[in-house]
């Protein structure tokens, strides 16, 4: 059953990778990359248990964090050139 779940995750990662290649807008690619990252966290967690890797949960925890920071970074640096440089007012209230 564990192997079935790991195969399912691998298939999903492949599908997300296809979307990264063909996504017509950048937003699609960003979404697919975030999805790929989340699936990788699950893959490391499940695969590490199945293959008895050493300290795999630390890597999975770290990668969940890194995936989140990467997605936020993509949005910030991608939207910044469109949004914030055109604004004159201090922006909406926080």
């Amino acid at each position: 059953m564990l192997t079935a779940a790991i195969v399912a995750i691998l298939v999903t990662m492949f599908l997300a990778l296809i979307r990264t290649f063909i996504g017509p807008t950048e937003y699609d690619r960003m979404l697919a990359a975030n999805s790929f990252g989340t699936k990788t966290v699950l893959l490391i967690a499940l695969g590490g248990h199945a293959l008895s890797w050493n300290s795999f949960l630390d890597v999975a925890l770290l990668y969940a964090l890194v995936n989140f920071v990467g997605t936020i970074a993509v949005m910030r640096f991608f939207e910044y050139s469109n949004a914030s440089e055109k604004r004159d007012d201090p922006g909406t209230a926080a």
């Binding site: 990252g37 630390d58 890194v66 949005m75």
Partner: protein, 309 residues
Amino acid sequence: MIAVAAILLSDLFAVVMLFGVYSLLTAALFMDLDAVDVAFTEAAVGAGVTTVLMLSSLHLTGRWEALPRRKPLLGLLVIGITGAALVYAVLDAPLLGDPTAPVHQHVTPRYIEQGAEEVGMPNLVTAVLASYRGYDTFGETVVIFTAGLAVLLLLGIHEDARMRPGVSAIGDQVVLRSVVKPLLPLILLFGLYVQFHGDFGAGGGFQAGVIFATAFVLYDLVFGDGSARAVVPSGWLHRLAALGVLIYGGVGVYSLLAGKAFLDYSALAADPVHGQHLGVLLVELGVGIAVFSVVLLIFYAFSGRSRRR
């Protein structure tokens, strides 16, 4: 396959995403080869910090790859010759895990058999990194420090007058702020755990430094430009980076002054194994501080500049 796609696409934004994916697959490969510390560092640095830094430099240079002005035939020739030489050399190399390979013959059996008693920690990677090969790690720390120095010399840290610390570039994001705010202390706690747990599991100074820097980068991304600068001013970071290298070198000099070799940890305490523990702790602390300040420094240098129109 991912590497080929990364070369063929001219949309550099997509290339950065693909690089993140590639580095992630490399980390998984390292895990499969049972090299957990390397996979840890690869995931932290390659998929996290490098993606953020490349995106911030893309923001400065522009998104589309400029067409080359002439065909780079000389470059192709050089790469072809170098690649062929590398492949020829690899064909002669011993297979992975071959017990008669030279790398497994000389010092490695001693590390594996006596490492646990001599250094006294279960994680052999940290033992080799910090104690047996302490000179190399000192060199690596100085290299990281030099990289930060080079970025400072080339780019400098600008306090852009147009930056408003309270205003985030992605607009008014209540959800993001309320989720990230309690997350940040947990990330810092995880960084501390990785730093001090390096003796037993995967971890150590390099990974912990990157995790610490990631927390501050996240704060800066979500809460507005320059907000991390208000918390950790760049003046501090210069001194922290130097402090990291100094701690490492200081341990070495102390053992010199105590009458033994440079970075010989048994000079630090009465019991040699206790001295090893103390030495590795201090050394990893120095590495962590140096990596953290240099990564954050590079991030400040890149993100502080806006595109000159």
